[in-house]
């Protein structure tokens, strides 16, 4: 059994979802209500069938976390949502659960691994995966495939990675460095020390500020996550420019609109799996039947492989080898369309 811990994108989204799902009592409740709401496991099982006919089952746990909790500094509430959702998944015997959206970011950022016990449950972290390895892999493949389509030659291209020192960002840098002949890597992040360490590890890459880096980039990989999103001046970007929106929330396509700028939602898997899960539209996919967050896909892949282990865990542990393995899992399911 695989599990997915997810959350809705905003208070407004949560209220609309409550109404759509037939809970009008909750539809008018404000942030306070969500701060004290318990995790919910949706009744309906998710059934996934691969092209080879293998069937796995999963459950979705709604953590009731909302990004507004971070924006308004309700940090304790935010951390409770994630830990309680994890305890809930474990209590239901789920073997491998992906921490979707902000869940893994909150887990890492607030060092929640120090919370080993919650109520009468000792959290077994090997039952959870951030899903970041597969997300990073998918983003890299998106860069390779979309750049080829747009006629951007990687050997002459500059890639700016915004959020370069994060778990996914650093993995993208490693892959681009080892797997492609990209001409130049621009490393953007807030923490100078971590940037220096990444530059040393890669043996290349230029450390630049966001405003300085963006106009030089043929490809921008955006993997920074911020509760409120970010403003980018489309005019300052090169034309053509490929922008992979792999952060959270994924709303750059509405914010950056200019001729010659191509925005792709990053870390979203196009798949051919047969997923029986009518609630997928809840998480705002453009094509709910054919798309899936890569972090969720990772828990499904691990379940298909019966590899019940925290494949992605800890910060900056994602190696190129692990990403290759993640890609190989996909191929073995014969479902790779992306």
């Amino acid at each position: 059994m695989f599990g997915l811990i997810g959350h809705l994108t905003s208070l407004e989204h949560a209220q609309a979802a409550a109404r759509d799902m037939g809970y009008p009592e909750y539809a008018d409740e404000g942030l306070d209500f969500w701060c004290s709401a318990p995790p919910l496991m949706l009744d309906q099982e998710i059934t996934v069938k691969s092209l080879t006919g293998q069937v796995i089952k999963g459950r979705y746990v709604e953590s009731c976390f909302l990004p507004e909790m971070l924006a308004t500094r309700r940090i304790k509430a935010a951390t409770r949502k994630i830990i309680n959702a994890m305890a809930h998944a474990q209590k239901h015997g789920i073997d491998i659960t992906a921490l979707g959206g902000f869940s893994s970011i909150i887990f890492e950022n607030f060092n929640l691994k120090q919370i080993e016990r919650i109520r009468n449950i000792r959290l077994e972290f090997q039952r959870f995966t951030t899903g970041n390895t597969h997300t990073a892999y998918i983003i890299c493949r998106q860069v390779e495939q979309a750049s080829a389509k747009l006629g951007i030659d990687l050997s002459k291209a500059t890639i700016a990675v915004c959020g370069a020192t994060g778990d996914i960002g650093s993995a993208v840098c490693r892959w681009m460095n080892a797997h492609t002949d990209v001409q130049d890597l621009l490393l953007i992040a807030r923490d100078r020390e971590r940037l220096n360490a990444l530059q040393t590890e890669l043996g290349r890459g230029r450390i630049l500020g966001l405003d300085e880096a963006l106009p030089q980039a043929d490809i921008v990989v955006w993997v920074a996550s911020m509760p409120k999103g970010v403003e980018i001046d489309a005019e300052s970007l090169k034309k053509p420019c490929l922008l992979i929106d792999g952060g959270y929330p994924k709303n750059l396509d509405t914010k950056v609109q200019a001729p010659g700028v191509y925005v792709l939602k990053g870390g979203i898997v196009e798949h051919s799996l047969d997923i029986d899960w009518p609630l997928m539209q809840l998480v705002n996919m453009d094509a709910p039947g054919r798309q899936l967050f890569a972090c969720f896909a990772e828990s499904m892949l691990l379940e298909f492989e019966k590899w019940h282990t925290n494949f992605s865990w800890g910060r900056n542990q994602i190696t190129v080898e692990k990403m290759e393995k993640s890609g190989a899992f996909r191929s073995s399911m014969a479902s790779n369309r992306s």
Binding site: Y23, E25, Y26, E29, D32, F33, C35, S36, A37, P38, P39, L40, M41, L42, D43, L70, R73, I75, K76, A77, T79, R80, N84, H88, K91, I105, N109, F110, R119, N120
Partner: protein, 230 residues
């Protein structure tokens, strides 16, 4: 990304703390007393389970004594008059149900609402308690998790027959517990117990109990919404 603030040190001897503690401690003592009385009443209603219920009542009595010691340790006299009034509505509903032989309501009030309220409060209290009370409360929580929840198991075994009764009892009594939670918000805050964490923990325990009995997540969400009507 914002950061967590460092926790402040609590002065367990301050007048403000002791004043709030006199009510919270009394509520806990009264809650254990109610549990003791309620299990004895249930033993009369369910003679087949009499021995088990009497054993449970003794355990609750032991817990009560532990919490009385916590008050003495801080030299706080629990405000028992306040606590009796605090529980009056729930107490009255239990008495009426017991007199009518309404087992579903009795079990919802004692085994679901009071038990879940207690375990949530203890879980939230433990990290912020004084060292003496922490040890006592940890022992109580261990006891609570050790014994299979009698009411949950009984209602599970008789789910189809009592489903409707549980729903009705929930609708009538969940708003009361909500009011009770609101009523102690300020005192609990002085003890560093956050209301939203308390509500969340209660809803987790309550939801798990309802799920164990046989309700679906959809049922639980619908039933939980009655709390909002308080």
């Amino acid at each position: 990304m914002p950061q967590l603030e460092a926790p402040q040190k609590t002065d367990f001897q301050s007048e403000t703390y002791k004043d709030a503690y006199s009510r919270i401690n009394a509520i806990v003592i009264e809650g254990e007393q109610e549990a003791y009385d309620n299990y004895l009443a249930l033993a009369e209603l369910l003679p087949d389970n009499k021995d088990e219920l009497i054993k449970l009542s003794r355990m609750e009595n032991k817990h009560k004594k532990g919490f009385e010691a916590c008050g003495r340790n801080l030299e706080v006299a629990p405000d028992m008059k306040f606590a009796a009034e605090y529980f009056a509505e729930l107490h009255g509903n239990f008495q009426t149900a017991a007199a009518e032989g309404d087992i579903a309501t009795c079990l919802v009030i004692q085994s679901l609402i009071i038990e879940c309220f207690a375990i949530a409060a203890y879980n939230i209290y433990i990290p912020v308690a004084d060292p003496f009370a922490r040890k006592i409360t940890e022992g109580v929580v261990k006891d609570e998790y050790m014994h299979l929840n009698f009411g949950e198991e009984w209602l599970k075994a008789n789910f189809e027959q009592y489903k409707e009764g549980v729903e009705k009892a929930n609708a009538a009594n969940l708003p009361i517990i909500w009011k009770m939670l609101n009523q102690v918000e300020d005192d609990a805050a002085i003890l560093e117990m956050e209301k939203e964490a308390l509500v969340e923990d209660f809803m987790i325990a309550y939801g798990e109990a309802l799920a164990n009995i046989g309700f679906s997540t959809r049922d639980i969400m619908r039933m939980s919404s009655h709390g909002l009507r308080a």
